[in-house]
């Protein structure tokens, strides 16, 4: 899956957008209405081994995954409480044998379905079956624009070719396509070509996401951290392409916050407009939340309803709104704008999820972290630690780990 849902928030800030209107009566920060969109991580199993994977380093084994019936019950409950969109993700969602059945069920209960996939397990028949089951949209992740870089990053031979093939089938079947490209130091030089690849594939949207540094990506930070020059070049390329490709390809681009002055509005604010369901059924404020230790996330297998967990559980309420904030956030004029940044990043970099996200220039730790980033970008080695169930495998010459 992409680590980007963080930024590709279920709704954006412009006035015509659903959330602002749907919640216009009260400040959204006060209401915590049921989210419009939910991410269902069906499994952590995945044939790829991306070194920036946003799944927790402790991956959930197949045996603890929710069963088909449990997922169906979850989907029904989500539709009943007012969720409108479901993003099927993972790991690799199509590693579940029941993926078509789940998409069909989601369609039956009226949910808008999106498949966030690495594509390598899909056949044309499977994709056709998904389309027939009502799938509304397909998002395919790419690791580069050609196999040498892309297959190495994915840690899987022939992955890139396969992705191109599936992307073509997607459009042949008249399914809308988003190309998701996760960018870092070792593939940023391909950005212009990736944009062209998305155009050639007839994609509707391109998501240019920068790696977020927690979980596996934090382990690989030295190998992934871009240089400041790369980031400047990236912004220039994206801005130029946005103008040139207006009406042809929509581009969503998020500046990496290590080099920004203020942090991103992570998940639109903790417990504010989004939740995620883990393979074992835990309800999480974001896909990386389990990287924060010391928070007790309740599961759909508990005797609480999903709505109850969302509204009342301690883990959601801990960092909700602005009351929990320390200084400098508490007295900051931006506190309702970025909600203090990312809790997972604060935890990963400062050891306390309740600190100001150090990506913020006002954080006492910002200087140090910015320096680390610069040093790693210029001196870090390029070798990856691949994501897998063995806790990670170091790349060796010409081999892709396990």
């Amino acid at each position: 899956m992409s680590p980007t849902l963080t930024d590709a928030a279920p709704s954006r800030g412009d006035a015509a957008d659903g959330l602002s209107i749907l919640e216009s009566r009260k400040s959204a920060a006060e209401t915590f209405g049921i989210p419009l969109a939910v991410l269902a991580e069906l499994t952590h199993r995945c044939p790829l081994q991306c070194p920036y994977c946003s799944n927790p380093v402790e991956l959930e084994r197949g045996g603890s995954e929710l069963t088909t019936d449990e997922w169906k019950k979850v989907l029904t409950e989500l539709a009943e409480i007012g969720v409108l969109q479901i993003h099927f993700s993972g790991g690799e969602p199509t590693a579940r044998k029941d993926i078509v059945e789940l998409v069909q069920h989601a369609s039956d209960v009226g949910l808008y379905t999106n498949l966030i996939t690495s594509a390598v397990l899909l056949t044309r028949d499977k994709l056709k079956a998904l389309a027939d089951a009502g799938l509304c949209h397909v998002q395919i992740s790419f690791q580069g624009n050609e196999p040498v870089v892309a297959d190495r990053v994915a840690g899987l031979k022939n992955a890139h070719e396969k992705k191109l093939e599936v992307a073509r089938w997607t459009r042949e079947l008249d399914l809308p396509l988003t190309v998701n490209a996760v960018m870092h130091r070792q593939n940023l030089h391909q950005l212009a070509d990736i944009i062209q690849m998305a155009v050639d594939l007839d994609a509707d949207r391109l998501e240019v996401a920068n790696v977020q540094y927690y979980g596996w990506a934090l382990k690989n930070r030295a190998a992934l951290m871009p240089t400041l020059q790369q980031i400047e070049e990236t912004s220039r390329i994206v801005e130029e392409a946005e103008v040139r490709l207006k009406g042809i390809l929509a581009i969503d681009y998020v500046v990496p916050d290590y080099y920004a002055l203020r942090p991103k509005k992570c998940m639109g604010g903790w417990g504010r407009q989004f939740f995620n369901i883990s393979p074992a059924g835990k309800i999480l404020p974001c896909h990386a939340a389990e990287t924060i230790t010391g928070l007790d996330f309740l599961s759909v297998r508990s005797n609480h309803s999903i709505a109850w967990i969302w509204q009342n559980s301690e883990a959601f309420n801990r960092y909700r709104g602005t009351g929990w904030m320390p200084e400098p956030c508490q007295s900051c004029e931006f506190k309702e704008i970025d909600f203090g940044g990312c809790r997972c990043q604060a935890f990963a970099l400062t050891g306390d999820a309740g600190n100001t996200d150090p990506a913020c220039a006002l954080s006492p730790m910002h200087e140090q972290i910015f320096k680390t980033a610069e040093t790693e970008a210029s001196h870090g080695g390029d070798r990856f630690i691949y994501r897998n169930f063995a806790g990670g495998t170091v790349e060796t010459g010409g081999e892709y780990g396990s």
Partner: protein, 104 residues
């Protein structure tokens, strides 16, 4: 290729249709119409909903305007320019496509 149909220019003879990735539906919980699209949910106003419900890929814009002018007993030319402007705006945002001949 189908690709460039994304850039449509709305006229009286256009037969617009919501693209497959955009779904217009009534949200029971929040008691209002919404357009569901990848990564976003839009809340169209009442007039947009009414017009969008007429966009079935069969009717052309002129026919839609006739229906609305009859229903609201209003000046046809004024309605036509409002409807076209609104549809063009939706098309520019990627929420409207031109119906294709003989394609499902």
């Amino acid at each position: 290729m189908a690709a460039r149909t994304r850039n449509i220019s709305v006229t009286g003879t256009s037969r617009p249709l919501l693209p497959r990735h955009a779904k217009l539906r009534f949200d029971d919980t929040r008691q209002r119409w919404v357009i569901l699209a990848p990564e976003r949910v839009l809340a169209p106003d009442d007039i947009a909903v009414e017009v969008l419900q007429l966009c079935d890929g069969d009717r052309d814009v002129d026919q839609m305007v006739d229906l609305l002018a009859a229903k609201y007993v209003a000046d046809r030319a004024a309605i036509a320019s409002d409807v076209i402007a609104m549809l063009q705006d939706l098309a520019d945002k990627g929420f409207l496509v031109e119906a294709r001949e003989a394609s499902a």
